[in-house]
């Protein structure tokens, strides 16, 4: 199980997966936006999206949980 957390304060621009989706290592899960820059958040392992904690338009703080890959 891998927890994916935000590295910085950012707005959630795009959510590209849903709970239950199978993902491969390196797949883009979510795209954050901070300071006019897009920051893709990638799966670091293959697995299933167990939890998805953000929606488009949300603001995440540093350390906030984005998703759990099981």
């Amino acid at each position: 199980m891998a927890e994916i957390r935000a590295e910085m304060v950012a707005n959630v621009w795009k959510v590209l997966v849903a709970e239950g989706d199978d993902v491969s290592d390196g797949d883009t899960l979510v795209i954050l936006e901070s300071m006019k820059m897009e920051i893709p958040i990638l799966a670091e392992d293959a697995g299933t999206v167990g939890q998805l904690k953000v929606a488009e338009g949300d603001v995440v703080q540093e350390g906030d949980l984005i998703a759990v890959i099981e």
Partner: protein, 446 residues
Amino acid sequence: MFESVLIANRGEIARRVIRTAQRMGLRAIAVYSEADAKAPYVREADDALLLGPASPAESYLDMDRVLEAAATAGAGAVHPGYGFLAENSEFARRVVDAGLVWVGPAPSAIERMGDKINARNLMADVGVPVSPGSREPIVSVEAAVAEARRIGYPVMVKAAAGGGGIGMAVARDEVTLRPAFEGARSRAARFFGDSGVLLERYIEGARHVEVQILGLADGRVVALGERDCSVQRRHQKVAEETPSPGVSPGLRARMLDAAARAGEAIEYRGAGTVECLVAPAEQDFVFIEMNTRLQVEHPITELVTGIDLVEQQLLIASGEEISFDPTAAPPRGHALELRIYAEDPRRFLPSPGEITAWREPSGDGVRVDAGYDAGDMVTPYYDPLLAKLCVHGEDRVEALERARAAVASFRIEGPKTNLPFFDELLGDAEFVGGDYDTGLVDRMRG
């Protein structure tokens, strides 16, 4: 001369314009979002009006709110700074229609240069060199493939209405062109509201060199020297210097002449910048685009010429003569600008947060244009520029020495900053040697 000016911007550039406006005896009016209520520029302005929430769309990009603030404050003129509405011809037109003075070129000049394809065609038609590229917007991936074959790889893919490096990518073959085109098209639509894309031949090992121009009230256009902006990450400038170590006197003369010609072709008024790519070995250049506003890196031109460019903008906008003799303003010495960003110095990822400590360097030849101070919050809503650290020396060696000392004594705590990157850059053999190009930062990180 008008008696007051509203600065439709934030951060360091709002502060910088306010300083000159007040020195000239004008009332400086700031506008701000809720996120910037405690910013230094809001405190320093003579008047300050709240625009709305932090989101740029509801504050600095909201034309209705900015114009309403100008009316409420009784502003005589509007200075747009750079970014936000600075190159929005509709905004410029609405400022003029409201009976206010627009501190910038005519809306028609903004329009003609805002579309990069149109600008390229116009420059080619008046004899300014351009690299082989699209004469019309490219609307499909198949058309892009055909166009790239005609131009020849490698090609640069760009948003026609774009800026700030957003959506730009280099494609070396058809396989890399397809995703580059789709990426440019979606970003163009999202950031600029116009999905037009252009291709142009990519010049390997090029330097990015731009010329500062000033279109005077009497119709003359003068060129005030060049700036080398080849230190870039993600196609965005990080450090600039003048004069360029890669431009010979002969090339400089040709570039300045072409830039003035470019300005005259569109009857340009005020401060503008003609951006070019230079092939150092051939000492050749091509036009890439024109920025119809004050440039972020304008202070280095001010340091070597002794001219206050914002003062000239305000004088020209009010139809007055500039405050210096353009035939007798030779640049003196060497100047550098380092853009201090709130970002980590390895991967250059944004790092917002509260600034807990802030101490600026000082000393001979050091100028800091800062938008923040201790206690301020750096939010994710705007670009990561915290301050511009500028240094001037008698020559490049002295300027580099002063820059090293200034970087070492600049103290910012809270958000991560790229100050450690500048420590590296100022010790990098390629940069120090002067023979570098736009691939420098990638090589430092490769």
